[in-house]
């Protein structure tokens, strides 16, 4: 079904800038940390689904690669100018350093980066699916969709209660919110795709938006496409530069011409059409990909 997706995509991150921001607040929530930072010039231009990259460990750091974070919300806060929030899961050296920062510590930021979620031009029915802290960018998305008069049914899930993220914020901005955990410690015992199947079965849905781990996105896309529902998935690929020059964060995506290409998550994504990503081939160069070398016998 045609639902009039607005197509206003800057393919080269042409609005992105590099600024020195400042930490305003670091809040612990479950297994995650919410960082609030000043980001003058970035916050004002951010659209739902875009991300920032953060320099790690200061100028002389031995961690030379920036880390990427989906923006969960932007605000205009008087004297600070634009501020933004992103969620950090402290699983590595860089992310642990980040969560130990305190108010007024400087932070080197580049953004807003990547293709945002495309928003419907009409008031349509949307389902948002988030896995783990992949639900963070859905907060800003849900706000935009509600502003357009859309119905927003949100499903968030995780392996266990402590890894759920954004329950309170998403409850506030969604028409309905469903929680799932694989161990049954909160909400419905099961996976987000079970809840998604239920909604798709019982009501007319125009678009599914999703962000979370790759296997979850693969299932969300599969379920949606099987029911002929348009889906947009924000992928989580490991990046080195975040600005389109290093060719690290590629995955196989089918184009309008039916040809598979290795596209960069940072500039051609992170939001892709769910029916276009070759999910089961992520991590490989599938046969038929443009430029794949044919191995001669």
């Amino acid at each position: 079904m045609y639902i009039g997706m607005a197509c206003s995509v800057a393919s080269m991150n042409s609005g992105a800038i590099q600024v020195m921001g400042e930490v305003l607040d670091v809040q612990r929530t479950g297994k995650y940390f919410v960082m609030s930072v000043t980001a003058p010039g970035i916050a004002e231009r951010t659209q739902p689904g875009q991300f920032v990259t953060v320099g790690m460990g200061g100028e002389e750091s031995s961690m030379i690669l920036r880390r990427s974070f989906a923006i969960q919300r932007v605000q205009s806060r008087g004297i600070y100018g634009g501020t933004l929030e992103f969620v950090v899961s402290p699983v590595g050296k860089g992310t642990r350093w980040l969560t130990k920062l305190r108010r007024h510590d400087p932070l080197n930021l580049v953004g807003p980066l990547g293709k945002p979620f495309t928003l419907p031009t009409k008031a349509v029915t949307c389902v948002l699916v988030g896995g783990g802290y992949g639900s963070a960018p859905l907060i800003m998305l849900a706000e935009s969709l509600r502003d357009r008069g859309c119905r927003v049914d949100t499903i968030i899930g995780a392996s266990t209660e402590k890894k759920l993220y954004g329950e309170l914020e998403l409850k506030r901005v969604s028409t309905s919110l469903t929680l799932t955990t694989e161990d049954g410690t909160a909400g419905v015992h099961g996976r987000v795709t079970d809840a998604l199947e239920n909604i798709l079965e019982s009501s007319q849905v125009d678009v599914v938006y999703s962000c979370g781990p790759m296997p979850m996105l693969a299932s969300v896309a599969e379920v949606s496409t099987a029911r002929k529902v348009f889906s947009q998935c924000s992928v989580e690929e490991s990046m080195a530069c975040g600005i389109g020059v290093c060719m690290t964060c590629v995955l196989p995506v089918v184009g309008d011409d039916g040809i598979t290409r290795m596209l960069r998550s940072c500039v051609e994504g992170p939001v892709f059409r769910g029916d276009r990503v070759r999910w089961s081939d992520v991590g490989t160069i599938p046969d038929g990909t443009l430029g794949k070398e044919v191995v001669r016998p």
Partner: protein
């Protein structure tokens, strides 16, 4: 007399500072400034134009282009290492025809000085890419990527042997306009880099680009498998800088007149200066772009500052300056440490 220099007949810049001649000749390649991007770290310049004016640096060295479109390797393609990174991209690219039509055309229209990096799986392929570029025109030089460890299987690369390296350079030279400077990008993973440099110079290279990445490997201790899908990868970043400085030094020592573009882990103007003093006529900034997208412009400004406070009035005075005789007659004040010469805290502390 910290940082002071006798200035005679110097014109004054609008700011009141003496003008500084930042131009450099890398053989027949004349550049307004000595800072370039390193191949594979700047795509074809377009993405970086967002963060600094790409026409304000010496030039853009584009990602190595091959004859046909190429998908590159499977992921993961990258692993962070101490002060560096390992990559195994596998030369993903659109092929030379699309490159000429889109990337080269854009660079030309933008007015950026352009050095096109080319790669190939055989000497013939290098030749064909060069021939296509010759017809298209619109660039300033060619850098020949004979040292990318991903090009051929089993780590056998052209750059490893003097004869295979020379063969590629000869083929590219034959297929290029004779006025186009050609630089051979050398691998540090060789027993004697001077021998390779001499052989590519003999084969018609205008100069050498030193150094490409070092072959490395990381094991993922969670999966207990190699971290990269390509198993091994190229190590780059500040971790390899002393290797680069050593290679530049050795080549300059043996071949005093060979133009050298230095690269390998340059993160600051100070780092760039080190390469220049060792013998580089220009310096490429690579992996640091991933850390700081405006690094080439920042490093260019920092390098100018580093040269000025040492009393140089021209970039060319600093090239190979570390090789000078102890009793050199060149009157450059070398007694400079990292302190700001205007900093007079010493007196304050002694009281």
């Amino acid at each position: 007399m910290t940082g002071s220099v006798i200035v005679t007949g110097m014109s004054q810049a609008a700011s009141g500072e003496p003008t500084f001649d930042f131009s450099t000749n890398v053989g027949s390649l004349e550049l307004n400034t000595p800072i370039l991007t390193a191949s594979g770290c700047a795509a074809a310049g377009r993405e970086l134009d967002n963060y600094f004016d790409i026409t304000a640096i010496g030039g853009i060295v584009t990602k190595s282009i091959m004859l046909a479109p190429r998908s590159g390797r499977a992921t993961p393609r990258m692993a962070e290492t101490p002060s560096g990174m390992l990559n195994s991209i596998g030369l993903q690219g659109p092929g030379v025809e699309s490159f000429i039509e889109n990337d080269l055309a854009w660079l030309q229209q933008r007015g950026a000085r352009t050095i096109v990096s080319i790669a190939g799986g055989s000497a013939e392929e290098f030749g064909k890419v060069a021939a296509k570029l010759r017809i298209a025109g619109g660039f300033d030089a060619i850098e020949v990527n004979i040292s990318c460890p991903n090009v051929e299987d089993r780590g056998q690369v052209f750059a490893c042997r003097a004869d295979t390296a020379a063969n590629v350079i000869q083929t590219v030279r034959r297929n290029s306009d004779s006025r186009i400077p050609i630089f051979a990008k050398l691998s540090p993973d060789v027993t004697d880099i001077v021998e390779i440099a001499a052989s590519v110079a003999q084969a018609g290279a205008t100069g050498v680009s030193v150094i490409n990445t070092l072959l490395g490997m990381v094991i993922n201790t969670s999966s207990m498998r190699p971290a990269l899908a390509g198993v091994t990868g190229g190590l780059s970043g500040p971790a390899i800088r002393p290797v680069a400085v050593r290679c530049i030094w050795q080549i300059r020592n043996a071949l005093p007149d060979l133009p050298i573009i230095g690269m390998g882990g340059v993160r600051s103007g100070h780092d760039a200066l080190e390469m220049v003093l060792a013998g580089a006529n220009a310096v490429s900034v690579g992996t640091s772009i991933f850390n700081d997208p405006s690094a080439p412009m920042r490093i260019q400004n920092e390098l100018e500052h580093e040269l000025r406070i040492r009393g140089f009035t021209k970039f060319s005075q600093a090239v190979s300056h570390a090789h000078r005789e102890i009793d050199s007659t060149l009157q450059i004040n070398t007694a400079i440490d990292d302190l700001d010469p205007t900093d007079e805290n010493w007196d304050f502390i002694s009281e």
